[in-house]
């Protein structure tokens, strides 16, 4: 079965290479049939990889420990669900998953466009197959999940070997958010190859209007959404599973998923200006190339070991190949862009700094600077090693010192952007537009100052959150009022229809709202508190308005792990509100890996987060650490709203919307009305 799996991968590589060369040949010779055969090869390649994936899943499900990947990441006791999820629990299998998603996306693009864009498609297919072939080569020759275990005997001979049981899936990964986190992130990284491929095809065929943008808009949005969700899931997992009380550490692997998200966000916004005003064309092609490359870069950092990180898999052989590929793609893309510069000329000029175009431009700049700062901080050890010979690392203070101001400026733009008009906003209209949001915002600021808050960034953040919140509400209010006047619908229905008729704009506003909510949550970080105490049953510990009283400790045994569990009663204002049971677990497989099971009591106002760190030196007391993390809940809630908002923008256009104009009784009887749903 493992031979079958490996063979299918090899077949897929041959097909994708054929697809690459045949589509280029067909385009140059203008032979439609050759291009068609290349497209069929792309689909066949996808099918072959699917078979390969099925083979690996079979090996995992049947616990065939002769295969290295299966032995490394599963064991007999593991529930079937985790055995299958272990596909991406180790390096090689995760590579196959990457290749699979890439192939499926390529196949979908081919099918979606089989009757369209016949001039661009050969180049789109070529780029997709080039991308796929690269990863297939890595997968086959450097990270093959079908490799079998061999035993080297003292006399030097090797023979195949199948251990009794595997090493098991790291218990830190046996958590729902961690299981779906890699596939979701992959969907987020890989998807950017599609707008990239279309951009390259547009450059080659000199079709640099907004066709390439409009046709890939859904791909970009969905990819961006998955990347964002992947980032949030990673944070949620870190918060709940790792026990250090935070959800973002500016770790290199975290940063490498953040960077394409930043440039992807810039790209999503920047294309609006090209579609409306024919400007920022060079920005857009550059942004899509950068975003695609950052996705590759992200997987490069994770897999090559070039940056030390608590996440990194570390396999330095891969690094060189990634580097060459990225340089090749960057060089080729830049050459194309420079050569086609005349076709990328802006159709208009910037009329005023107080314009929506200017706001978008500034948005691009800020996001790019943020991305550069994260890149700088992440890669600095490599740079300093190269230049000075010692690795110098930077930590959260660096990233926060740049990230927080940029974030706040972006938040400001989020509120102000819609207030600016295209081309030029008159000072008078600005004054009117700003007045409503500024008043509540200033009130918030004053109220916070009065209540004793002195942290500058926190004050600015909460003030801006209120400001942006009101500008968004203002947009919905104005639009709904106009609609009510025109159609006579009731307010709520009008608002729904308004959104459905302008999904991109109002769905976007919902996403902006979600950003405000997340900023509220992020700002709470400034007020985190923690306290630790070595306790025995009967002891009490105070944090904020809560009193924690330890009542019990017990050891226990379960099939997978041993545990130590502390029971604490939580009192607020003298009343018992909850019992919390933080645990420490020691897994029997996986080399006795221990995990901290956090006890979490989460409310919108604050999280009470309790950790059992372990037994004290003398064996008689229990180390408890309690954190009080205000407003974290809003980060997760905001993320959910972001998903909803993005889904709104993705809704397909329907033929008829709900309830239309009011007809008089006679007219209503005369006209046949019905809702035709498709």
């Amino acid at each position: 079965m493992s031979n079958f799996g490996a063979f299918c991968l090899l077949l897929a590589l041959c097909l994708s290479l054929y697809g690459l060369f045949a589509s280029l040949l067909g385009a140059i010779l203008k032979q439609h049939r050759i291009v068609r055969s290349a497209e069929r090869a792309a689909i066949a390649s996808c099918a072959s990889i699917l078979l390969s994936l099925a083979a690996l899943l079979y090996l995992l499900a049947t616990s065939d420990f002769s295969v290295a990947h299966v032995a490394q990441s599963t064991n007999r006791e593991l529930p079937v669900f985790y055995k299958l999820a272990a596909l991406w629990g180790a390096h090689d299998g995760s590579m196959l998953l990457w290749v699979f998603v890439t192939a499926v996306f390529s196949g979908i693009v081919v099918l979606q466009n089989r009757f369209r864009y016949r001039d661009m498609m050969p180049y789109v297919v070529a780029v997709l197959m080039f991308n796929l072939s690269f990863f297939l080569i890595l997968n086959l020759f450097l990270s093959n999940p079908f490799n079998e275990l061999v035993q080297v005997l003292p006399d030097g001979t090797m023979h195949k070997f199948s251990p009794q049981d595997g090493r098991g899936l790291n218990p830190l990964l046996q958590y729902w958010a961690m299981i779906i986190h890699p596939p979701i992130l992959y969907l987020g990284f890989i998807g950017f190859v599609v707008p990239f491929a279309f951009a390259i095809a547009a450059l080659i065929t000199r079709q640099l209007g907004d066709t390439w943008i409009r046709t890939t808009r859904r791909w970009t949005l969905i990819t961006w959404l998955f990347l964002g969700v992947g980032l949030i899931l990673g944070g949620k997992w870190a918060y709940v599973e790792l026990g250090w009380g935070g959800y973002w550490g500016w770790d290199p692997v975290e940063n490498s998923s953040l960077m394409p998200w930043l440039t992807g966000t810039a790209f999503l916004h920047s294309v609006i200006v090209q579609e409306r005003k024919g400007m920022l064309k060079v920005w857009n092609v550059l942004l899509v190339v950068i975003t695609y490359l950052l996705g590759i870069f992200g997987t490069f950092i994770t897999r090559s070991g070039i940056i030390n990180s608590v996440h990194a898999f570390a396999d330095s052989k891969l690094g060189v190949f990634f580097l060459y590929y990225m340089l090749l793609v960057l060089g080729g893309s830049l050459f194309l862009i420079i050569d086609r510069l005349p076709y990328l000329k802006s159709e208009r000029r910037l009329d005023s700094v107080l314009s929506r175009e200017s706001a978008f431009l500034f948005n691009n700049l800020l996001l790019l600077v943020a991305c550069f700062a994260v890149l700088w901080g992440t890669m600095f050890p490599v740079l300093s090693n190269w230049v000075e010979g010692t690795k110098i690392t930077v930590g959260p203070p660096f990233f926060n010192s740049v990230g927080i101001p940029i974030g706040l400026m972006l938040l400001f733009l989020t509120g102000v952007g819609p207030l600016f008009a295209w081309r030029k906003t008159s000072v008078e209209s600005l004054r009117r537009a700003f007045l409503w949001p500024m008043a509540p915002a200033l009130l918030v600021c004053i109220a916070l100052l009065v209540s004793g808050m002195r942290s500058f960034y926190s004050l600015v953040s909460f003030t801006l959150c209120m400001f942006v919140l009101v500008t968004i509400a203002q947009e919905f209010w104005k639009g709904t009022r106009v609609r009510v006047r025109n159609t006579g619908e009731n307010f709520a229905l009008a608002m729904v229809n308004l959104t459905l008729k302008n999904k991109r704009r109002y769905g976007g506003y919902v996403v902006h709202l979600s950003i405000v909510l997340m900023f509220v949550g992020l700002t709470g970080n400034a007020f985190n508190r923690q306290t630790s105490q070595a306790m025995v049953p009967g002891d009490e510990m105070q944090i904020g308005r809560y009193t924690l009283k330890m009542t019990d400790y017990r050891d226990g045994d379960s099939p997978n792990y041993q545990y130590g569990r502390v029971t604490l009663e939580v009192y607020r204002g003298g009343k018992l509100i909850r019992t919390m049971q933080p645990e420490k677990r020691f897994y029997k497989a996986s080399d006795g890996q221990s995990t901290t099971e956090v006890a979490l009591y989460s409310k919108p106002l604050e999280d009470l987060y309790v950790v059992f760190a372990g037994v004290s030196n003398d064996g008689k007391r229990y180390e408890i650490t309690a954190h009080l993390n205000p407003l974290v809940w809003w980060v997760w809630f905001g993320a959910a709203v972001m998903v909803v908002g993005t889904l709104i923008t993705l809704l397909p256009d329907r033929r008829i919307s709900f309830a239309t104009a009011q007809l008089s009784a006679a007219e209503a009887a005369a006209v046949e009305t019905g809702v035709q749903a498709k």
Binding site: A68, A71, Q72, S73, G89, L149, Q151, V152, P163, N170, L172, L173, L242, G243, W244, N308, V310, H311, F313, A314, R349, L350, D351, S352, V353, S355, F362, L365, L366, V369, A373, W376, G377, P381, T390, K391, I392, T393, V394, G395, P396, P397, F398, F399, N400, S401, V402, P405, I406, Q530, S590, D591, G592, Q593, T595, T596, V611, A613, N617, T625
Partner: protein, 135 residues
């Protein structure tokens, strides 16, 4: 270039300059030298007062709780270093005898590293270790 373009560039330059300054300050505040234990023992004299991030393997059996803190030894390529953990955070679950760790802190006068922060390798990569075990 139109006046709007100039204004934009000027504004942009001011913002970038301000951010660069903030970034520089944050950089100085948080930079630490990332070295392995053997590199550390070679450079000992230059490192007083600097924040260090030292990587090594935790020596099995060397983890001792002393008072509120914790002491252990890390090793790399034959050289050892004694570490005293003075941070507040709960230790990572991946931290135990034999694991790869990165400790961040400053050197005390008696040659012990006062660690404020400990990271230990997330164990999704088992390859090398497994092959050793099975042969």
């Amino acid at each position: 270039m139109s006046s709007a373009n100039w204004k934009f560039l000027l504004g942009g330059a001011v913002v970038v300059a301000a951010l660069s300054w903030l970034g520089f300050v944050g950089f100085q505040e948080s930079k630490s030298y990332y070295i392995t234990v053997d590199e550390f023992s070679a450079m000992k004299n230059d490192l007083q007062g600097k924040t260090l991030k030292i990587a090594g393997d935790v020596v099995e059996g060397s983890i001792e709780r002393s008072g509120p803190g914790l002491e252990f030894v890390i090793t790399h390529s034959g050289k050892n270093l004694k570490v005293r953990y003075v941070g507040r955070d709960v230790l990572p679950d991946t931290f135990k005898g034999g694991s790869k760790a990165v400790v961040e802190g400053t050197l005390s006068e008696d040659g012990v590293l006062l660690a404020r922060h400990i990271e230990a390798k997330c164990a999704s990569k088992y390859e090398a270790e497994y092959n050793k075990k099975t042969t």
